[in-house]
C-alpha cells in the first residue's frame, strides 16, 4: 500500500514498426500525490505524450506497454480489463490534448459531446445532464453557453475549443487531469488565458494535474515538481525551484538557456542538432551527441541516477566528473 494517488513504476512503452522497435518510453518511474501539479518537459519525440497515453491506456497500434506498472489509487491499471478502465477514463483520470480543433468530433455539437461524458459517468438524466453541461461551460468561461452548446466545433476558435475540452475533461470531477501540451496549438495571448484557467480550476477543484509541455516557461509558476524527459527516459527531476535555479543535467541547462525572458538580457542559446532517432538510440547517454560537454564516457555508458536532494535527481556524467575533479582524481 502506498499513499500516492498515482504511482508509475519502470514503465516501458514501445512502438513496433516495420523498421524495428521504438522505445518511446523506457523505464520511467514517478509518483503523483493528491492536489499536486507535475510538469513533464521535453522536446517532440521524448516520450512525454506516450507516457500520458500509457497511463490512460489509450495507446493506438502499434504502440504497446511492454513492462512496468501504473497504479492509480492502489489499483493496477496495466492489464486491467477494458470495461474497468472505461470507468476510470474520463471519470477519475481525464486528458486534454494538444490540438482542440481536431480533438472534438466534427459532426456532433459541442454540447452533445459534453453530455456524452456526463451520461457515461454519472446517473444524471435528461434535463439534469444539459444543466450540468451549461454549468461547466460557464465555469470554463464560455460566453452564452446555451447557444454555444448547440454549435459544432468548427464554429469555435481554438482557444474556445480548448476551454470546451477542459470542460469536458473536468465535468465528472476527475482526480487527475492530464494536460498534453494544452497550449501548443494556440496563440500566445490565448495560451496565458488557458493556463490561468487551469490554475484557477485546480485551486477550486483540488485535482492533481500532469502538465506535459515542451516549454519550460509554461510549467515554471504552476508546477510543484518537474521532470525532464529525453529519448524516453527521465533525465532529471526536481522541484520547480531546483530545476530552474540549480539544474543538474546538461540537457536541462540547455533547455533553460533557450527560454526567452524579459529579465535576463542574455543571448538565447539554442540546443544544437535534432532530437534523437529513437530507432538508433546511442549506447550511452542519448543526449550526448548534441551535448556541449560530451565526454568519451557519455557515448559509451548510460549515467547512473545521482540523488541531490529528497526531490532532485539527475542522470548525467558531468556530475560524476565534477565530483572526481573536486577530489582531484581527474582534471
Amino acid at each position: 500500500m502506498s499513499n500516492h494517488l498515482l504511482e508509475v513504476n519502470n514503465l516501458k512503452t514501445s512502438f513496433f514498426i516495420p523498421a524495428g522497435e521504438v522505445k518511446a518510453v523506457d523505464d520511467v518511474s514517478f509518483t503523483l500525490d493528491k492536489g499536486e501539479v507535475l510538469g513533464i518537459v521535453g522536446e517532440s519525440g521524448s516520450g512525454k505524450s506516450v507516457t500520458a497515453y500509457s497511463i490512460m491506456q489509450i495507446l493506438s497500434k502499434p504502440g504497446e506497454i511492454v513492462g512496468g506498472s501504473v497504479k492509480f489509487d492502489n489499483q493496477e491499471l496495466v492489464g486491467m480489463s477494458e470495461a474497468q478502465l472505461r470507468k476510470i477514463r474520463g471519470a477519475k483520470i481525464s486528458i486534454i490534448f494538444q490540438d482542440p480543433m481536431t480533438s472534438l468530433n466534427p459532426v456532433y455539437t459541442v454540447g452533445n459531446q459534453i453530455d456524452e461524458a456526463i451520461k457515461l459517468h454519472t446517473n444524471l438524466k435528461g434535463d439534469q445532464v444539459h444543466k450540468k453541461t451549461i454549468e461547466i461551460l460557464t465555469q470554463v468561461g464560455v460566453n452564452d453557453p446555451e447557444k454555444r452548446a448547440k454549435q459544432y466545433p468548427f464554429e469555435f476558435s481554438g482557444g474556445m475549443l480548448q476551454r470546451v475540452m477542459i470542460a469536458m475533461a473536468l465535468v465528472c470531477e476527475p482526480d487527475i487531469l492530464i494536460a498534453d501540451e494544452p497550449t501548443t496549438a494556440l496563440d500566445v495571448t490565448i495560451q496565458a488565458q488557458i493556463m490561468e484557467l487551469m490554475r484557477e480550476l485546480q485551486k477550486k477543484l483540488g485535482m492533481s494535474i500532469i502538465l506535459i509541455t515542451h516549454d519550460l516557461g509554461v510549467v515554471a509558476d504552476m508546477c510543484d515538481k518537474i521532470q525532464v524527459m529525453y529519448a524516453g527516459k527521465i533525465v532529471e527531476r526536481g522541484t520547480a525551484k531546483e530545476i530552474f535555479y540549480n539544474p543538474k543535467h546538461e540537457y536541462t541547462k540547455g533547455l533553460l538557456k533557450s527560454i526567452p525572458s524579459t529579465q535576463n538580457k542574455k543571448k538565447l542559446i539554442p540546443i544544437q542538432g535534432n532530437p534523437i532517432d529513437l530507432l538508433n538510440i546511442p549506447k550511452g547517454c542519448a543526449f550526448s551527441p548534441r551535448c556541449e560537454q560530451c565526454m568519451k564516457i557519455c557515448l559509451e555508458q548510460y549515467p547512473a541516477v545521482k540523488v541531490f536532494s529528497e526531490t532532485q535527481q539527475a542522470s548525467c556524467w558531468m556530475n560524476v566528473f565534477k565530483e572526481l575533479k573536486g577530489s582531484g582524481t581527474v582534471e
Binding site: 474520463g90 459532426v107 457515461l120 459517468h121 466545433p153
Partner: protein, 308 residues
Amino acid sequence: MNKKMLNYILKRFLLALFTIWIVITITFFIMHAVPGGPFLSEKAASPETTAALQAKYGLDKPILEQYFNYLSGVIKFDFGPSLKYKGITVTELIVTGFKTSAFIGGIAALIAILIGVFLGSIAAVNHKTKLDQAIMFFSTAFVALPSFITASILLLVFCVKLQWFPANGLTTKGLILPIISLSLSPMSYITRLTRSSTLDVMGQDYIRTAKAKGVNYWVIIFKHSLRNALTPVITYIGPMLASVLTGSLVVEKIFTVAGIGKYFVSSIVNRDYMMIMGTTIFLTTIVIIMLFLTDIMYKIVNPRVDLE
C-alpha cells in the same frame, strides 16, 4: 435547417435545372447534325409516324421552332412518337421500361451500399487480419469488373452451364442475376471506400478523445466513427446511381430484361432517334436529380462543409 442551407439548396437546384436544360438543348441540336435530322433521317419510319411528327414539331418549320416545340413537349414529359414501334410514344416505352430498370437498379444500389458499408467496416475493424485481407482481395478483384462482363460470366455459369436461373429476366427469379451483376462492382468500391475512410477516421484525434472519455468500443465505432467515415460514401452515391443506370442498359440486354435498357440498346441498333433522345434526356435528368440529392445529403451529414 437554417437560411444558409435553404439558400444553398435553392442555388444547387437552379444549377441542376440549368444543367437539365443544357442537356435537352445539346441533345436536340446534336441530333440535328444527323443528316435529315432526328425526326426524318430514318427512311423506314412509317408514313403515320412521319405524319405525327409533322403535326407535332412542324418538320418544315425553322429549326428553332422545332426546338421550342420539342422543349415544350419534354417539359410536359412528352418525348414524341417512337420511330420503330408504330403508334407507341417514347414516353410510354420509357415508363414501361423504367419500372423494371428502377426496380433492379434500386435494389442493386441498396445492396451495394448496405453490404459494401458492412464489409468495409468489418475489414477496417479487423485491420491487418486474415478477414481484412480476404475482404480486400475480393473487393479489389471485383471492383475492376465491368458490369457487362460480370453479367456475361454469370449468364454463362448460372444460366447456361448450371441452369440454376432462367436466361431471361421475365420472372422475378430471373432478376436476381442482373441485380448481382449491377451491384458487384459498386459494392466492392464502397467496401474499399468505407474501409479506408474508417481507418482514416479511427486514427483521428477525436476518436482518441472519445476513448479517453471512457466511451465503449462499439459506441466509438457506431457513433463517433461511422458517421464521419460515411461522408465519402455519400458523395459516391450519385455517381454510383449513374453507373448502375448506364450499366443496366447492357445488363438488361444480356439477360433480356424488359427494362429501359432493352429499348435503348435496340433503339441504337435501329437508329430510333426519338427514342435515343428521349431516353438520354430522361436518364440524364434522373442522374442530375440524384446528384442534387446527394449533395444536399452530404451537407446535412457533414455540418463543417462551407455552404458558400
